[in-house]
């Protein structure tokens, strides 16, 4: 919520008890962690750009959460949010990322050659492969907080960087506010178009302000590498293609990201990254690699097996419907991707997807033949 530090100073005239939000009916990470003591300690602080505690938590106050899905309930307004409000955010990060400690270090590995296999997933089962992540650009505040001037500057810099790419990455930018109807239809047909957020998780965090100003989609001519500008993060980078060669998808992902990063660094606006949190993004759930690598895979028999969910948990994978998060699967086809983001590298996370999906396809084949799979069930990774 872009109220900023001046509005916060006025609120300091009121007592902690009077300002503390009512979180009695809430079920999100922020509500579990925030106490009156922490609130009292952090309420007069602000980041250099003026982002305050109430700004961080507004989305979690406005969205009590679902009894079964645990949302994060807070966002960062800039890179410094994670430092200035660490008394609140460190416990939330630990909770969300499997006990990650404030002293832990995160390793980044974008060398696709370190991935083993991944080029031979059975295309009769694996219909498509995709890897996505986000990147924030140093020197600008994040989507919940940035002004129109900043957002436009981010767009300008991103477009300069992307349109300078060549070879397999040669492509074009489509700004949301000036695309033609024909361009819009094409982007919808390619499943590339993103729309104004409707989820209150995002709108209550101020991320849809001034829509569609400064937002757009860039993709390469091959339609296999795609960048979203100024949606939930400064940049969302997506590499995808049909069938099961996730190795090739990951190669293009790594190569493309490195090329883009070089260009931003030359302009003195590298990506936000640090040793402890890895890549810094708007939502604490995307810290670390920010990577979700996955496939659409046909598992009609395995998905109805009693041990399916347990197998996924042990493989450190998660399932979603083919419409994305919170959708149901259609025709036994699932979106299977890595569950982790922080505490393991990109290569390690994609390796889990490669190995896990390979194993599950073999299990599916066994079940088709009427054979049991109990001996194949893996130990916890």
């Amino acid at each position: 919520m872009p109220f900023g530090n001046t509005h916060n100073n006025f609120k300091l005239n009121f007592k902690v008890e009077d300002e503390f939000p009512d979180l009695t009916k809430h079920n999100n990470h922020m509500a579990k962690v925030l106490t009156k003591e922490i609130y009292g300690k952090l309420r007069d602080k602000q980041t250099p750009s003026g982002y305050t505690l109430d700004d961080v938590i507004q989305t979690g106050v406005d969205n009590p959460g679902h009894p079964f899905i645990m949302t994060v309930g807070c966002v960062a307004g800039d890179e410094e949010t994670y430092e200035v409000f660490k008394d609140l955010l460190d416990p939330i990060i630990s909770d969300r990322h499997g006990g990650y400690k404030s002293t832990d270090k995160h390793s980044t590995d974008l060398n696709f050659e370190n991935l083993k296999g991944g080029d031979d997933l059975d295309p009769d089962y694996v219909l498509s492969s995709r890897v996505r992540t986000g990147r924030s650009i140093k020197g600008y505040t994040l989507p919940p907080h940035n002004s129109r001037g900043e957002r436009r500057a981010i767009e300008k810099l991103s477009v300069e960087a992307l349109t300078s790419l060549d070879g397999e990455f040669k492509g074009k930018y489509y700004p949301l506010k000036s695309m033609t109807d024909a361009e819009q239809d094409q982007l919808i047909n390619d499943h590339f178009l993103f729309d104004k957020p409707v989820s209150p998780l995002l709108t209550c965090a101020g991320m849809a302000r001034d829509w569609p100003d400064g937002r757009g989609i860039w993709h390469n001519d091959d339609k296999s590498f795609l960048v979203w500008v100024n949606e939930e993060d400064h940049l969302r980078v997506i590499s995808m293609q049909k069938a099961g060669n996730i190795r090739e998808v990951f190669r293009r992902f790594c190569v493309g990201l490195k090329r883009i990063e070089e260009i931003f660094k030359k302009n003195n606006h590298g990506f936000m990254w640090n040793e402890h949190l890895g890549y810094v993004l708007t939502c604490p759930s995307n810290l670390g690699t920010g990577l979700r690598g996955g496939v659409h895979v046909k598992l009609p028999k395995l998905s109805t097996h009693a041990k399916f969910d347990e197998i996924l948990t042990r493989l450190r994978l998660q399932k979603r419907g083919t419409g994305g998060v919170d959708t149901a699967s259609v025709g036994g086809v699932f979106d299977i991707s890595n569950a982790d983001r922080l505490g393991s590298s990109e290569v390690a996370q994609v390796q889990l997807v490669v190995d896990g999906v390979k194993l599950m396809v073999e299990m599916e084949k066994k079940l088709e033949k009427g054979e049991a799979i109990d001996s194949m069930i893996p130990a916890q990774k």
Binding site: G4, F10, D62, E79, G139, G149, A153, D213
Partner: protein, 417 residues
């Protein structure tokens, strides 16, 4: 409790004043701290108003029509005593380009002082929305003497129900777009305490939105009293749904004909209503109730936001002045089919809505007919105009029933001479 303008400068940082003196021409390197962080104040130099000016080319609302780069540049860095800014005021208008046929206002006030601090923008918007009312030169009349109303008991063969609503803001506390949780809770405390002092036909009770039982909620729904979290982006983009349902609630009297909403789109919305055509009684209760509530908050040192130029101060500039919408649900089966119906309403300074409220379609031949104007005429004048207008429409309906002809009335004058 009352704010003062001396606080306008209280929230400003010395760095801003320095920047204003010419430090703003410094290079980016100077403005960034060692870690590369951009301070809030140095952003003002790095991003001049022209970099932040919104793209309003596809917009059709009062704010987009009035905001120029020059006005924006002048007002962008100003702050009200409650630390509310221009960007916050106009966010809803930037986020909601508007409909080609309906012209929305496109901005809100965060506090009483917004109307002064951002007058360069809000005065032209007020003029546009309120038919040429000029806050710089005109005075708004307030008159809540219900005894002055005549001919206000309608034929119940035609008028099914009568209703008058307005809003009131508590001076010294920020309005719904800007208020902190403690301010909102203070509004609730002040108003609920005052309402607890009402007696006789006005005595009643308060239902807090967060604490009501399921059966209380069902009863309020059945009585058509319950309001819910705003979903309209016009309101959500203006930050009015924050912290829902904290400090929101509904108060109504035991007779269920006097109702107050707390902390929805305004600090309070006050509604007097009953079935049938006795608008006189509805307005009497409205005026009496408002006066009693005002007396009760005075006793504790509070008052309503009001001034001579703008009348009662409310969140949306469209509700300034009286904030009053007086209306009836009326059956006009023959007249509504007459091609002159719309013109008649225009000349009588009335508007029609469906019986579900604004933007709903009429069901059958029953319409919600109410006053168009809010600012520049008093409550008594507006209610009398509504009464005269509805009486005229009913006369026409009766004439058409008998096969007689009707005349379009001449237009009512806009402002008091």
């Amino acid at each position: 409790m009352a704010s003062s303008f001396t606080r306008i400068l209280a929230g400003r940082n010395p760095a801003v004043l320095l920047a204003g003196l010419g430090a703003g021409t410094a290079a980016v390197g100077f403005l960034l701290s060692e870690s590369g962080a951009l301070s809030a104040e140095s952003k003002r130099s790095l991003y001049p108003p022209s970099a932040d000016f919104p793209d309003l080319r596809k917009h059709n609302n009062c704010m987009a029509a009035a905001l120029t780069p020059a006005i924006y540049a002048k007002l962008r860095d100003r702050v009200t005593p409650h630390n509310w800014t221009l960007d916050q005021s106009i966010q809803t208008g930037v986020d909601n380009p508007g409909h080609p046929f309906i012209k929305t206002v496109g901005c809100v006030a965060g506090d009483e002082e917004s109307y002064e601090v951002f007058a360069e923008l809000l005065d032209p918007i007020i003029k546009d929305r309120h038919n040429g009312y000029d806050p710089k030169t005109m005075k708004h009349p307030t008159d809540l003497d219900a005894s002055k109303i005549s001919n206000a008991v309608f034929d119940e063969k035609y008028v099914l129900s009568s209703r008058v609503r307005t809003g009131r803001s508590i001076r010294g506390l920020s309005l719904p777009p800007a208020c902190s949780r403690s301010e909102r809770r203070e509004v609730e405390r002040v108003v609920v305490t005052a309402l607890g002092g009402l007696k006789g036909e006005l005595s009643g009770r308060y239902y807090s939105l967060g604490d009501m039982t399921d059966s209380e909620q069902q009863q309020l729904i059945d009585d058509h009293f319950l309001f819910d979290k705003p979903i309209s982006p016009l309101l959500t983009c203006a930050f009015m749904a924050r912290d829902w349902p904290d400090a929101r609630g509904i108060w109504h009297n035991n007779e269920k004909n006097f109702l107050i909403w707390i902390n929805e789109e305004d600090h309070t919305r006050v509604i007097s209503m009953e079935k049938g055509g006795n608008m006189k009684r509805v307005f009497e209760r409205f005026c009496s109730g408002l006066k009693q509530v005002e007396q009760l908050i005075h006793e504790r040192g509070w008052e309503f936001m009001w001034n001579e130029r703008l009348g009662y101060i409310l969140t949306c500039p469209s509700n300034l002045g009286t904030g009053l919408r007086a209306g009836v649900h009326v059956r006009l089966p023959n007249l509504s089919k007459d091609t002159r119906f719309s013109k008649m309403l225009d000349n009588l300074r009335l508007q029609k809505r469906g019986t579900g409220g604004v933007d709903t379609a009429a069901t059958g031949d029953t319409f919600d007919i109410s006053n168009n104007d809010r600012l520049g005429k008093s409550e008594v004048e507006l209610v009398q105009m509504l009464v005269d207008g509805v009486n005229y429409l009913i006369e026409c309906e009766k004439k058409l029933e008998k096969g007689q002809d009707i005349k379009v009335p001449s237009p009512v004058t806009q402002f008091k001479k």
